[in-house]
Amino acid sequence: MNAYVGTATSRVDGRAKVTGAAKYAGEFAADGLAHGFVVAATIPRGRIARLDTSETLKVKGVLDVLTHAHRPPLADKDEAWKDEVAPEEGSPFRPLYDDSIKFNGQPIALVVAEDWETAKFAATLVRVDYQEEQSFATDLEAERSKGAEVKQLHKPRGDAARALAGASVRHEADYFVPTEHHNPMELFATTTVWDGNGRLTVYDKTQGVQNVHKFLCSVFGKKPDDIRVLSPYVGGAFGSGLRPQYQVVLATLAALALERSVRVGLTRQQMYGLGHRPATIERVGLGAKPDGTLDAVTHEATAVTSRYEDFSRNDTGWAEQLYKSPNSRFSHKLVRLDVSTPCDMRAPGAASGVCALECAMDELAVALKLDPIELRLKSYSDRDQSEDLPYTSKQLRECYARGAEAFGWSRRNPAPRSMRDGKELVGWGMATGVWEALQMPVAARIVLTANGHAEVSCAASDIGTGTYTIVAQVAADALGLPIENISVRLADSTLPQAPVEGGSWMAASSAHAVLGAAEDIRQDLARLASTMPASPLGGVDAADVILVDGTISKNGDKGRAVSIADAMRYGKLERLEKQKLNQFAEDKSHARNTHSAVFAEVKVDEQLGVIRVTRVVSAVAAGRILNTKTGRSQIMGGVVWGIGMALHEETVMDHRFGRIMNPNIAEYHIPVNADIHDIDVIFVEERDDRINRLGVKGLGEIGIVGVPAAIANAVYHATGKRIRRFPITLDKLLD
């Protein structure tokens, strides 16, 4: 039954991607395609006093300039602008809606021309006068005291303040995580194709075509059949494509205004006006008994949001659930600033919150003179501490053991500055990672044709995560067909339902939808085959029949089989179609999480402060791994992100102007090839019969969590300097 699931199957969309055949949102052609170029605001707060487009309109080839004062109608109720992942509180941003400026980089006009070159040039001729609001704020640290408390899910345990104050060994500190931008390689773009009579086909860069579809229908007052949204390939997103972004509104607005097809592509600089990982001050307090067991854990996160929406994520819940501690208190505060609303970015909440927690644990280990792994094992919990629930599975202990062994942790000299390689100081650090194992309602359709080919379809996106491939693997195994006979269609709003691709939930969710549809196909085929004249399956119960090697067979007896083709011919079936919504047993009595243990080696040039991450071992327990090749890539990518978060990434704001100073990928540093050395990914066996039928948990986020802390802890071990302000750049080491 398992020819493909669990193997290192190469991506089924690989050929399309290496030959340039894969088409992304801004690459679809259309007759008479016009091109839009965005004009963005250059102040953080105020009003548009005058917007003069007269010079722009004189340029030959310019078709129109859309502004808040000159555009087709847009919905006026907040509800119409709330997509499926919009924050509950607030009023979503509406591009070109009115004259108010809410953040620097906000789109204020769209120049539409016959070609891109003309639109880009003509956009430079738009003249804007602002009525600037002098009181604006973009600096979290300066505004920290204005944080508004977000309601907590759980009550505090014990008396954390007293326990912390009275602890024999105590550590308390602020850790600062700056604003970060996703910077997917593909620029955000939308091609809206005018199909006539107000009907539109929208190719959009998004993680959720049905989310965008519903959003566009409500924003433009369209019927579901009027709009179709597709995103067959997405050039990375990492959370930035969860909510519909403004270019999809602008392209569609222009298509409706001009009654022709329009493409709007953002520049890299303009993408810094989209969502971001919010800058956050993470204050963590840990109190321990003399033997090193935790007695108090406190974690207070103070994060940025915009003035118009309250975006908050779970930064502190990880500290709440991970370690045993009788006393604990958690809080999350939001500071509203004149910036665009933050959004999910790879492992939102956890990447920042666990970073602080695991740095703090390292500092506590140093204070206690305990090995960092030993400290974690002393307060290891087999139950989720926030809900006091057992886990469906938790092999974190094994992650520590396997990771430590592969890394060679036992050879570590605990004293800082004790290890060297020539002129470089060597540091070894470790940290724990944790994420959720979520699953969402997803439906899949399978169409099996008599020639033994199956098409599997679902509205889910593949943002590079490997959804096409795992869907094909699961279908091939469940239908007993070679993977070459499976074709997969995804990311079309007309296909069976799927939420946005995010939160690491799509692998488990889509796999079980496919499994369900295949199960219905199997039952129909079993029934059909058993009724054939002189059927070798006569009298065999349908439950005892499997699909294997293109046949319908009695389980364990390959001699009793009918070919799928023969059965379908007998039933006069050209095709057999089944659609199924996945179903997961309701289980409120268990916690569902993935875990990891991350080990990092850094080498630091003592004179120059240059830091290199020379080795990372990530030992991950995430249930069953559907595809060891694409799964390993996901973890590796997460580790690279963690290296970026630790050492490189920071969106730098000039608070005097409320403007980002490094809105490009030369000055916003992300890891390049030469920054990345050995990354060893270990999948720790974690059998989970409870979470779902296949025992799948998902891998998209867990790879990054813990990595920044492991590196920061290694930097401390190498240099004796504790840097609590990320990223750890060489100037901070030389201070």
Binding site: V18, Y233, S633, Q634, P671, N673
Partner: protein, 163 residues
């Protein structure tokens, strides 16, 4: 009458030999080679990731050398031989680099991939990279946000036939 300074200047006719086929274009002078390929020749395999020469997604081979096509005006390359990702496979058979990228899962979203592969083809032709460290250094003009670097290095090593 419209301000003359705001008017688009005359288009300039150029010839490019793209993947072995001569193509004639009339372009405004500030059209980049990247936009000429993507928008005017519908060869969208070459990607735009920054338009500023910072990411390498637009890498193509011009007369055999790897260049950032976003930093190259099309009119500067009149008469040049351009090879894009669409021209690497011959008669349906993948270029060894293309196969190696699939074998080693050297991409996830696939957006930087055409640039990575064209850049790697240029790297192999240059002959300077002898080991993994040199590959890493000489491939650092091509960003991969999915973080596929170790697999990219392994794929290039396979195509080089060296460990």
């Amino acid at each position: 009458m419209a301000d003359a300074a705001n008017q688009i200047p005359d288009r300039i006719p150029i010839d490019l030999v793209v993947n072995g086929v001569r193509r004639t274009l009339d372009l405004v002078p500030w059209t980049t080679l990247l936009d000429a390929l993507r928008d005017h020749l519908e060869l969208t395999g070459t990607k735009k990731g920054c338009d500023h020469g910072q990411c390498g997604a637009c890498t193509v081979l011009v007369d055999g050398r790897r260049v950032n096509s976003c930093l190259t005006l099309a009119v500067m390359k009149d008469g040049a031989e351009i090879t894009t990702i669409e021209g690497l496979a011959s008669d349906g058979a993948l270029h060894p680099l293309q196969q190696a990228f699939i074998d080693h899962d050297a991409f996830q979203c696939g957006y930087c991939t055409p640039g990575q592969i064209c850049s790697a083809a240029g790297l192999l032709a240059e002959g300077h990279a002898k080991n993994a460290d040199e590959i890493r250094e000489l491939m650092s003009g091509n960003l991969c946000r999915c973080g596929g670097y170790p697999n990219i290095v392994a794929a290039i090593q396979q195509a080089m036939g060296r460990p």
